[in-house]
């Protein structure tokens, strides 16, 4: 189960809480696509994420690259170890670039 909350503003922030897997990846897709409308930057906060698999990671990588190509920045922050582990396994930082990570 994935819960999402969007803090609106010049730079919207999407707070994710729960698990990102095949079952919730459509929620993830919808909330990011919706928040990206009409803005040049969106932040995704992973503090509450307890699980992510290749479905979620694959979508995230695709989003980062596709939006970057359109001049829109999707930035990620507060990556918990359980998510960072999967990102490391799949070389996410290499794929999307370090600049997509707000907290280094």
């Amino acid at each position: 189960m994935l819960h999402t909350r969007v803090e609106t503003g010049d730079i919207p922030v999407i707070y994710l809480e729960g698990e990102i897997d095949l079952d919730s990846v459509e929620t993830f897709r919808w909330v990011v696509s919706d928040a990206m409308r009409g803005v040049s930057q969106v932040v995704v906060d992973f503090t509450g994420v307890t699980f992510i698999d290749s479905s979620g990671t694959g979508l995230l990588v695709r989003f980062c690259l596709d939006y970057k190509a359109q001049g829109v920045q999707l930035q990620l922050r507060n990556i918990p170890p359980v998510v960072d582990d999967v990102f490391t396994m799949l070389k996410v930082r290499t794929l999307v670039g370090d600049e997509a990570f707000l907290d280094g």
């Binding site: 189960m1 698990e19 897997d21 095949l22 079952d23 699980f51 698999d53 290749s54 479905s55 990671t57 694959g58 990588v61 695709r62 690259l65 359980v82 582990d85 999967v86 396994m89 799949l90 794929l95």
Partner: protein, 258 residues
């Protein structure tokens, strides 16, 4: 009447060459229409070199190999011959998505280092009967995935497995069951067995088989091999992975010491 164009997915073939007997056995897919003497020659080369050798269509004698990509992987006194027919799907993407070439090379490397084994029917029966069953459940859609993970977590917690191994096993089981839901007909079973000091997860479906190389979009588009990130996670985090696949379904067996 609405007709739909048939899309033939990229497919995988695995043959086993027994060097002592000079015989071939088909393990996965339909054997490539390749002269056996050529295959035997290439297998012998790899066995002499004691390392896996991959050939691509760029090689001069590609026509003789009859596959778009083919790898010869020596293991003891036999050689696994793993090949891909791309069937028109692009071999390379040139972007972040894993290409067929990468996938085949990863498979070959996993077989060479002993992590991955392709099983025939007899071997599957042995591997799935070893040890004792400690849990079984049905997977029938994406909503079951979290339940399967929770079940694995409970079992591993009861067995006092450390948190790192537990997390990795949960992730790998999740990837295997996700693959089953997406490509294996949408449903199947997940069983857990204890085999000595190892946890063995057996994920089985009755899907169309060879499902892990099916492509999700058409050539020329943003096609992505389904066997991408998920299988990378599985192969990188487990000690042994066994794969049996055919027209009657796919079984993936995942082993990790606990």
């Amino acid at each position: 009447m609405v007709t739909q164009a048939t899309k033939i997915p990229a497919t995988l073939q695995v043959m086993r060459y027994d060097a002592r007997r000079g015989t071939f056995k088909v393990i996965v897919g339909d054997p490539a229409n390749v002269p056996r003497e050529i295959l035997a020659q290439r297998a012998a080369e790899a066995m002499r070199a004691r390392s896996f050798i991959c050939h691509t269509t760029d090689d001069q004698d590609d026509a003789l190999l009859g596959a778009d990509e083919i790898c010869f992987i020596p293991t003891a006194d036999r050689c696994e011959i793993v090949s891909i027919h791309t069937n028109g799907w692009r071999r390379h993407h040139g972007d972040h998505r894993r290409s067929l070439v990468e996938i085949l090379n990863d498979l070959a490397a996993a077989v060479a280092r002993g992590t991955l084994s392709f099983l025939d029917d007899e071997e599957l029966a042995t591997v799935t009967a070893e040890g004792r069953e400690i849990f079984a459940c049905t997977i029938d859609g994406s909503a079951s995935l979290a339940q399967a993970r929770a079940a694995v977590a409970r079992v591993l917690n009861d067995l006092d497995v450390d948190s790192d191994a537990r997390r990795r096993l949960e992730l790998c089981v999740s990837e295997a069951t996700t693959n089953m839901v997406v490509h294996g007909g949408g449903e199947g079973t997940m069983r857990l067995r204890l085999v000595d000091d190892r946890l063995r997860a057996i994920v089985a479906d009755r899907g169309p088989g060879l499902n892990f190389l099916n492509w999700t979009e058409e050539a020329g588009g943003a096609g992505q091999p389904s066997m991408g990130y998920g299988y990378k996670i599985i192969l990188d985090n487990l000690e042994r992975v066994y794969l049996h696949t055919g027209a009657e379904g796919t079984t993936l067996v995942l082993d990790r010491t606990i």
